[in-house]
Amino acid sequence: MNTQSAKRYYRKQRKAIVTATSGLLYGGGWSLGYLTSLDTASAVILILAAIIGGYDIAKTAYHEVTNRTLGIKTLVTFAAVGAILIGEYWEAAAVVFLFSLGSYLEGRTMRKTRNALQELLEMTPETATVRRDGKQQEVPAREVEEDEVVIVKPGEKIPVDGDVVDGESAVNQAPVTGESAPVHKADGDEVYAGTVNQEGALEICTTGSGSDTTLERIIRRVEKAQEAQSPTESLIDRFAKYYTPSVIVLAIGAYAVTQNAILSLTLLVIGCPGALVIGPPVSIVSAIGNAARSGVFMKGGEHLERASKIDLVAFDKTGTLTKGETTVADVEGFGTDDGEVLGLAATAEKKSEHHLADAIIDAAHEHSRAATDGGRTVMDESDTNQTARGATMESIPDPDDFEVVFGKGVVAHYDGQEIIVGNRALLDDRGIDVPEAIADYVRGREASGATTVHVVRDGTVIGVIAMRDELREAAPGVVAALQDAGIETVMLTGDNERTAAAVAEEVGIDEYRAELLPEDKQTVIEDLQGDGHVVAMVGDGINDAPSLATADVGIAMGAAGTDTAIETADMALMADDLERIPYAVTLSKATRWNVLENVGLAVLTVIVLLAGVLTSYVTLATGMLVHEASVLAVILNGMRLLRY
C-alpha cells in the first residue's frame, strides 16, 4: 500500500480507527487501574482515550456552538470535560468511547437506509451500444443523445429511456415500476433505463439518457418526498429545539441544588434526545424507500401518515378495476340488420373521443375487414350485409353534424337521418319510446355486467350495442385483501345501476355508486368524508383529478413516465398494478406503528434513565450505553420497514 492509498484508507476508516484506538486505550487504562496500583498511569491512559476518541466530537461541538445549534456532541463534550475536571477519568473515557462506538454503528446502519435507493441507480449500465455511421459503438450511457439508436442484447440492462424501434422481448421493469412479471415489448413500446431485457435483442430510439431518465427522475422525487417532514417529525423537531437547552438548564439546576457534579453530568448524557429525533425520520425514510422499490411513489411523510388512517378505498371503475379497454361484445338489431346498426353508430360516433365511441369504431372496422375477408366478425356470423358505412377503414363516413350530450351519448345527422347513440336517459330526454322487448334485452345484457347503448334512427330504436371492459384479474383479490385489513371498499362509475351492480358483484366490492358524472364522484368522496371516513381514491390520474384531489389520499395508477400523475396524486402506482394498493395501505399503517414504537421506546428510555439517575443506579457510562443502545434500537426498528 503506498502513502497515497494509505492516506485514503485512513480517511475512509478514520471513525472506525479512532473508535477502536479509544476503546483499546479505555480497556487498557481500566485494566491497569483495576488490576494494579498504577493509578497515575491508568489515569493518563484513560485521559488519552477520552482525548483521542473525543477530538472529533469536541471539534463538531465547537462548530455546533459557534453556529448556535446545540446537539448531542455538545452535551457529550460537556460531560466528558466535566468528568475529567472532577477526576472521573474512567467515566470520561467510557462516555467518549461508547458514544463513538454508538455513532459509528449508527452511521453504518443509517448509510444502508440512505443508500437503499441509490442502489437502484447503480443498476443502470455505465455504457451503451449505439449505432453511429452504420457501425456499433460502445459509448458512456450518459453521452447517448436523443434519437440515437441503442442496441440491447438479451440479458442486458437497458441503458436509456426510449421507444422500441426493432425487435421483441420480455422486459423486467421491476426497478422502475415494481412489477414482478416481465412485460412484453415490441415496436413502438416505451422502455426505461435500468430495466432488464430478458429475451430478444431490442433496438431502442433514445428519448432520455443520463439524469434525464424515468428512474433518475423517480429517485429524485422519492428523495424529496423522504425529506418532506411528517406532522410527527415536525412536532418532534420543534420539541427537540427546546428540549436540549432545557436539559442543560436542568443539569446546571441539579448541580446548584445538590452540588453533585456526577449527577449533573449524567443528566446531560441521558438527556440527549437522540432516539426521539432519529426514530420517526428513519421509519419514514425506510418506508418511502421500500415503497419506491416496490413501484409505489409516496409523496412524503405527511401523506404516508394520512394513508395510515385510511378506512375506506373508493375505486374508479373504468381503467382502474377494469382494464380500460372497452370492446363491443354484441350488436343486436331490432328490425334492422346488425351490421347496419353498427355502421350507423360508428358514423354518429366518428368524431367523439369517448372510449365507448372508440370501441364502436374499432368494431365497425373489424366487421368491415372480416366481412371483406369472409371471416368471422364480432357479430353473428350469418351477418354478411356490408353496409356502405362500414366498408373500409377510411370509409366510415363523416356525420353531417354531431353533438355530444355530456354523460349520455351523441346526436348526429347523416344522409338526411337523425342518429342517436346513447343511454336510456338520453332517449327519455328526447321522448323516444323504448319497446318492452328492447328494454328487456338491455336489462339482460346489463345484468351480466355489459354497458349498453341504444342506436336510434329518426326517433325509432333500431338496435342495441353491448360493450364490455374486462376486469383486471387482480381486482377481486385486491378488494378482498383490503376488506381483510378492515377497510371498506366503494366503486364509483358512470355506468347504470344494473351494470354497476353486476361488476360490483363480480369484484366482490362492498358498495357501488352508479350513473355518476365526473363531478359527482367528487361529491360522493365529500359525502363519504362527511360520514367520518378517511378516504383513499384510486383512479387513473387524468379524468379523476378532482376526486383524487378531494380524497384524503389520492392514488394514481400507471404513473411511470408521466410526471402529471405524480404531481397530482399523494401516492402513485408506477405500473397499473392494483395489487400494490393493499401493500401501500398496510405499509402506511405499519409505518405509523413503527413511528409510535420508536417514540415510545425513546421516551421510555429517557424516563427509565432519569429514574435510574435520581436513584443513583445509573452512572455516566451506563447512561451513555443505554442511550446509544436506544438510538441503535430505533434505527434498526425503522429499518425493518425496508424489508416490509
Partner: protein, 71 residues
C-alpha cells in the same frame, strides 16, 4: 448568475449535525440558500457564481467534522 451544486453526506449522526452544516454553509460568501437534509444526507447549495468559490463548500462541510461526497 445563480448556480446549484449538490453533495451527499452519509455520516450525519442526528438532525442537529445537518443544522450545523446548513448554518456553516449559509455563512460562506456568495451562498444564496442551502438545504441540508439529515434523513437523506442531501446537501443542496444555491450560490452566486461570481461571489462564491464552489471549491470551498466541500472544505466547509469537512471543517464541521463530516465527509462530503459529490452527488
Amino acid at each position: 448568475m445563480s448556480e446549484t451544486t449538490q453533495f451527499r453526506v452519509l455520516d450525519f449522526d442526528c438532525p442537529t449535525c445537518a443544522s450545523t452544516v446548513e448554518r456553516a454553509l449559509s455563512n460562506v460568501e456568495g451562498v444564496e440558500s442551502v438545504e441540508v437534509h439529515y434523513t437523506t444526507g442531501r446537501v443542496e447549495i444555491n450560490y452566486d457564481d461570481v461571489r462564491a468559490d464552489p471549491d470551498t463548500f466541500a472544505q466547509t462541510i469537512e471543517n464541521q467534522g463530516y465527509t462530503p461526497q459529490t452527488a
